[in-house]
Structure formats: structure tokens, C-alpha cells
Amino acid sequence: MSKGELPLAGVRVADFTWFGAGPIYTQVLANHGAQVIRVESQSRIDGLRLAHPMPEGKYTWNVSGYFNNFNASKLSFALNMKHPKALAVALRLIAISDIVAENYTAGTLEKWGLSYEAMLAVKPDIILVREPMQGAGGPHGDFGGFGFVITPLAGVSHLSGFPHREPAGLGTNYTDYVINPGHAAIATLAALHYRNRTGKGQVIEVAQVESSICAVSTAILDYTANGRVGTRQGNRLGHAAPHGAYRCAGDDRWCAIAVFTDDEWRALCRAMSDPEWTHEERFATLQGRKENEDELDRLIEGWTAERSAEEAMETLQAEGVPAGVVQSARDVLENDPHLKARGYYVYQDHAEAGRTAYDGPGFRLSKTPGRLQSPAPMLGEHTAQVCSEVLGMDDEEMAQLVMESVLF
């Protein structure tokens, strides 16, 4: 593994995270050169290893696309933390690591004996990154959850969608995928920078509910400053019209269109070949378009419905109108010429899962671009390698730990 040129080469992460918000962020570090050692075990298996999508008829721990997409570029070290002898092994790893990452319910690591003090004793400048749901302490400190319940807790569900519908959220565990892992990555990298400067480690806590509320900041201020409790506005925006998703030809095909300025409005009219109705006075200004938005949307949909979403996007963008196909997963993976030209999705060959697609890095560095170093590891795939190459164990010691189900 040649990682010599990547920015985080030489940084080692003892990765005790599981599910989404933890593993996604340690993958960012791994894709940019850190050696990330996933500490996991059959005795407490990462739920995502059991989750769909898996290939039909092949349901094993190692083939979940959900798990694999978040764990590329890492090593898997099977260590059974429920075994009393595991603590010493974990501390040996921490003693030669830069970062310890975890997102268990508060107190879980301590139950294993992995308190921050125990870590400091073996690695005085360790950076410990915790991602509890609510943060330590307080009346809800031990409340459970993940993105499915954090999205409504953080206000995202209440504020998203059409006003006549229930606040059903975004169809995903939204905050697990960029917002929370992204904040954790930023704090970790800032702490590395600070350690480079001062030699000091520290403890980082990313309370996922707190981190997620940052993504609805305007609504919070509108309440604290104006006393206004915002509500669902569908696809509309106060300072734009038209603004929404418009039905196009085909089955469930849509094109998003957004017009913020009068220039964009005139460009939209041109792109639609200036039909009669576009000359009506009531649509000439933003205010007029807002006041007649239902009618405006209906008329625009008359134009979009006659063409494919792709044709609508290309025709509009060619005139300078913001527009984009509401793409499905099939579109982004197979049809989007732009993503394809940029090579965003990458394929990895995995011993059990075969050749499958992964998300590429979410940002690109011109001189030291991140990349997937390897497919997601199979459970315990690198246990022997970590024992000998990282921990410096001899075969005898390793065999003993295997026999005692410590390495399990």
C-alpha cells in the first residue's frame, strides 16, 4: 500500500465506530492516507453488515452494499471487546494510534475499560473522537437513536415537504451521511492541526442532535429573533418563482427549475419559445409570479410534460436557466454524462461481494487527491496483518488469543 504522498499518511486511527455516522467519517481519513483499523467483532457485529442491499441469495456479513460503501480503504481487526483480555490488546493499538474514534451510546467504551484516562496513560497526545446521539450528561444523555430519529429531532422533518403532508422526512436517515460524519471529520482534522502545532491531543464530542440542528440554522434564528415557527413550504422559496420540480414525459420523471431573477425569467420564456402566456403582465415580476404561482407552475408543467427531463434541463441550462433532472440512483450511476466524465462513482473488486460501485471522495484535492485504497474489508480480514505488522505480535501470542476467542 503506497500512501506516501497522501496528506494523512502516517496517521493511524483505532476505529471503534459502527453503523453510519462514524464509519463514513473515518473513511474520509482512510481515503486520504490514514491507516484506519476498524475494531469489530462477531460478538457485536456492525448492524450494517446485516443490512440490505445484499445480492439475492447471498446473505453474508461481507456483502452488504450499505456497509461496504462506508468502509472502503480500511483494515478490519476482529477483537472481541467483551473478552477481558481484549482491553490490553486495544490499549496496545491505541498506544500507537493518533486518533480513537467511537460512536457508541455514552459509557460503552468505559464499560470495556477504555476510559479517556486509560488511553492517555498509553498515548498522552491521543485525539479521542466521540459521536454520541445527545452528548454526555443531561436529562436525555442516554436516549437512543440514529439518523432515522435524529432527522425529526433536529427539525429537518418538520420543515421539509409539502404543508398538507405529515413530516415524513427525506426518505433516508439523512443526518447520518454527510452532516454528522462531516462535522466529525472537520473537528478531527482541526485537532490534528492543533496537535502538530502544540503537541497536545484532546477529546472531541460530536453530539449528533446538536450537529444536525446546525443544518436548519435559519429556522432557528427566525424563531429566536422573530418568534416565528417555520413550517413546511414544499418546493417553494420566498425569493424565487418558478421554483420546484415539474413533471416531464415518462414515468415519474421530473425536472427541477429555479428562477431567481428577471433575467432568468426572460431566459426561461425564450427557452420555452415565448408562448403567449409568458407575455402576461402578471408574470413579469417576481412579485407577480409569486402571487400567481399555482397558475405559473401549471403552465410551466405544460411545457415540461412534453419533453424528457433531460431535454428540459439541457434546453433550459443552454439559455442560462437553473434546471436539473430529479435523478434516480440509476440515473446518477449509469446515465449522468457529467458524473461519468468526472469519474465520481468508482468500482472495487471484493472477494465476496464481487465488483460493486462505491461513492468517491466528496471533495477533490488537485495535488493529493483522495481515492479508495481498497474495497471494504471482510470481517476480521486483516486481523493477522494488524497483529504482526502493527502490534508486533509473534505467531504464538496471536494463536493463543485466537484460541481464547479474544481475536474473534
Binding site: A187, Q327, T356
Partner: protein, 431 residues
């Protein structure tokens, strides 16, 4: 920056020039609140985003945009017309003092005025420039306009949000701006660590479309691995107690009955029974139904791979769901949250902004931050830290800057312009 106070700021040694419009605002804020000196470089008259509401007390004015406030705290502001030759010269002087620049112009714009990444390395070797746009710097759509709704649409995440009978939903609040800003800040800090080792800077590129992609959850892999297309399913509760239920004063989210996720169905049933609202679900017939629901069956019902099995189970699931609907409807959301979580169930209210501001956990942890706005004769309460660093705490370092508030401080005191020079530039519309 050897001020002892600054050493407790993680990024206290970093200066950032923030040329960013809306999509990159949050990136600068993230860096500023970790201690970087972030100088917002606005066009004379101010960032156009200052004209977007909501506004403080609904008074429409560029110094009163709450949308702007929310994403520009802790920064300084100078005004500068980078389209003018004198403006470009002044920007180069600024850049010579900077570690990082953030920009959101259309691809190629900064190059066209001589301020692209390569040009800036001439005045500041080792500079890191981050560019955030809808579709990135290269590729056939790179010049497409990409406001939030276009980015969320093309990313694949909008396809998953909403009810099947409605158009797909745009998430609230410019989520593409948050995600792209987070990716940009991560890229900047990664580049900074590389620079510390090698002295070498680089260009960080973020496409909003790509920055959002991970939010598709499993949709991309579900297509890739199984050839099945995930799409929006509204509040279709394929399993009882997995979804959103109406209560007396709002809505509750339930995630109960999935092994490994909180207390099991029997705990929810016990709660209903304790309040005399389990109806017939305690009978042997219904107990058997719950005991038969193992993970394999749940997965089959949830993903609907076996139509016959789903049809067989549907009436039972509908009945259970109806009993639960009646139970939830008699409760208040915050009470239900406390009691459900006390019983170990993964339940949560669909909080409104008011619920969030009044949340006992956030207040116990003193999460909210305040900033004094002397011009408004008010102190505003802001969202608090996304993260807490023990030795270098996040800090809201001040209200957002007024337009050009720090022109004199930056241009005269720090770059050494005379008052006359600044007045001349101001007169010429450069500053």
C-alpha cells in the same frame, strides 16, 4: 498570532479570505468558529445573499437578513470589487497574507481576472484555494447553474424524498450548501495538513452534486447490487411502529421492532397495555404474530421482495398499525418522547424550531450561543457548536460583520494603506 488566547483556538494561526456566496458561507463560518481569521470579501454594497430573508423583525434590509446572520457569524468583512483592476491588485496584497481562499464563482471566472489558483500561488506560494460550485470545475455540466434545488435534484437525494403522489421534495434549508461547505472545510483542512508537511498548497474542488451523493443512503448500491430502484415512499409504514404518527400536538417518529434497535415490540405493547390501550393485541392470537416476526421476515416485509408473503401479512400489520395510531393520538409529543425513551424505545418527536429552542437536553448542555447586535439593540440566540473540542473549544466569536465593517482595520492597519488611498479606492467604487 502568538497571543496566548489564540493558542486555545484550533485554527488560530490560519487566515482565510472568504469570497464565497451562499453555497460556501457555512464553510467560512466553520473555520472561523474553530479560530481562523476569516475575512469576508464582499462586493461594494454587500453580498447579494444579504437581501434574502427571513429578516430581523421582518424589516427588509441588507443588514438584517437572518439567513445571512445564520451563516456568517465570527467573520470580518471588507468590501472589494474584484472586477476592477485596482480591486485585483488589492486582492493580491490580501492574498499574500492568507493561507486559504474560498470562492463560489462560476468556473473560470477568477482565472479570467487573473486571480485563479495558479495566479494566487505567485503572490502566496502554499495557498489553498477551495472552489464550490453546483457541478465542479470540469465536466460537461460544469458551467450549468446549480442553485440548491438543482443540486439536490441531480444528486439523487430528492428522488427519495416525499410522497409518491406528489412531486419529489426539496429538503428544507439549502442542504446542498451545508453539505458542500462541510466537504470544502474537510478538504481545506486535509490540504492544510499536507502543507504542514511539504509546504505545498493546492486547489480543493467541491461539486455540490457530488457533495450530496452520500445522502442517497443505499439507493445507489440497491440499484447496483439488486437492480431495484428506491424511490420516495412518503409515510408508508411498511411495518407498524416504523414511521411517523400523529399525536395530540404534532408528530412522533417511531423505529420499533427492528432487532438491534432499541427496546422490542413487546416493550411498546407493554406501554400500551399499561395505559389500557393495547386493545386486542394482548390476546394469544396477536402475541403469536409478534413472536413470529424475526429479522428475516421483517426484511422480507420491509423490502417487499415476496409479494405473496406481503399480501398474507398485510391485514395483520394494518390492524396493529391502527391500534398504534389510536394510542399515539391521545398523547403529547414531548411526553411521549420522554416516556418512550425511558422504556428504551427509539421514538422521537418531529420537533419544530420552538421545540428545539425549548429542548431540556440542549438547554442543560447550554448549547445555544448568543451574539450581541448593538445596531439592533438586541442579543440574538444562535445555534451552538456542531462539535465540542475539549482544549480548543468552538466559539461564536461575534455577530456577522456589517458590510465593509473592517475595511479600515484590514486595509489600513494590516495592509498599510493610507487613509487617503482608502478614500480614493472608495471613491472609485473599488472598496
Amino acid at each position: 498570532m502568538t497571543d496566548p488566547v489564540e493558542t486555545s483556538l484550533a485554527l488560530g494561526d490560519i487566515r482565510v479570505l472568504d469570497l464565497a456566496g451562499e453555497p460556501g458561507w457555512y464553510c467560512g463560518k466553520l473555520l472561523a468558529e474553530l479560530g481562523a481569521d476569516v475575512i469576508k470579501v464582499e462586493p461594494p454594497g454587500g453580498d447579494p445573499g444579504r437581501r434574502i430573508g427571513p429578516f430581523y423583525h421582518d424589516e427588509v434590509a441588507p443588514e438584517k437578513s437572518l439567513y445571512f446572520f445564520a451563516h456568517n457569524t465570527s467573520k470580518r468583512s471588507v468590501t472589494l470589487n474584484v472586477a476592477a483592476a485596482d480591486g485585483q491588485a488589492l486582492f493580491r496584497r490580501l492574498a499574500a497574507t492568507a493561507d486559504v481562499a474560498i470562492e463560489t464563482f462560476p468556473p473560470g471566472f477568477l482565472e479570467s481576472i487573473g486571480l485563479g489558483y495558479q495566479a494566487l500561488t505567485q503572490v502566496r506560494p502554499g495557498i489553498i484555494v477551495a472552489s464550490v460550485t453546483g457541478f465542479g470545475q470540469s465536466g460537461p455540466h460544469s458551467h450549468y447553474k446549480g442553485p440548491d434545488i438543482v443540486a439536490v435534484a441531480t444528486s439523487g437525494m430528492m428522488y427519495l424524498a416525499g410522497f409518491p403522489e406528489d412531486p419529489p421534495n426539496r429538503p428544507y434549508g439549502d442542504q446542498s450548501h451545508y453539505c458542500a461547505s462541510i466537504q470544502a472545510a474537510t478538504g481545506i483542512l486535509t490540504a492544510l495538513l499536507h502543507r504542514e508537511r511539504t509546504g505545498e498548497g493546492q486547489h480543493v474542488e467541491v461539486s455540490m452534486q457530488e457533495a450530496l451523493s452520500m445522502n442517497q443512503e443505499t439507493a445507489m448500491q440497491t440499484w447496483d447490487i439488486r437492480g431495484e430502484l428506491r424511490s420516495r415512499m412518503g409515510n408508508e409504514r411498511r411495518l407498524p411502529a416504523v414511521g411517523v404518527y400523529e399525536c395530540q400536538d404534532g408528530y412522533m417518529t417511531f423505529y420499533v421492532g427492528i432487532p438491534g434497535f432499541g427496546a422490542p415490540w413487546s416493550s411498546l405493547l407493554q406501554w400500551m397495555a399499561d395505559e389500557g390501550m393495547a386493545e386486542d393485541l394482548l390476546s394469544d392470537e396477536w402475541r403469536g404474530v409478534f413472536q413470529g416476526m424475526d429479522m428475516r421476515l421483517i426484511a422480507q416485509l420491509y423490502f417487499g421482495h415476496d409479494a405473496e408473503l406481503a399480501a398474507q401479512w398485510k391485514p395483520r400489520l394494518v390492524h396493529v398499525d391502527e391500534v398504534l395510531v389510536r394510542f399515539v393520538r391521545t398523547h403529547k409529543m414531548q411526553e411521549m418522547y420522554e416516556e418512550g425513551q425511558r422504556r428504551g424505545l427509539l421514538v422521537a418527536p418531529c420537533n419544530t424550531p420552538k421545540d428545539i429552542v425549548e429542548n431540556p437536553q440542549l438547554n442543560y448542555r447550554q448549547w445555544f450561543a448568543t451574539a450581541s447586535h448593538p445596531e439592533l439593540e438586541a442579543t440574538l440566540t444562535y445555534p451552538g457548536p456542531p462539535y465540542r473540542l475539549s482544549d480548543t473549544p468552538w466559539r461564536l466569536r461575534g455577530r456577522p460583520p456589517l458590510i465593509g465593517e473592517h475595511n479600515r482595520e484590514v486595509y489600513c492597519q494590516e495592509l498599510g494603506l493610507s487613509a487617503e488611498q482608502l478614500a480614493a479606492l472608495s471613491g472609485a467604487g473599488v472598496v
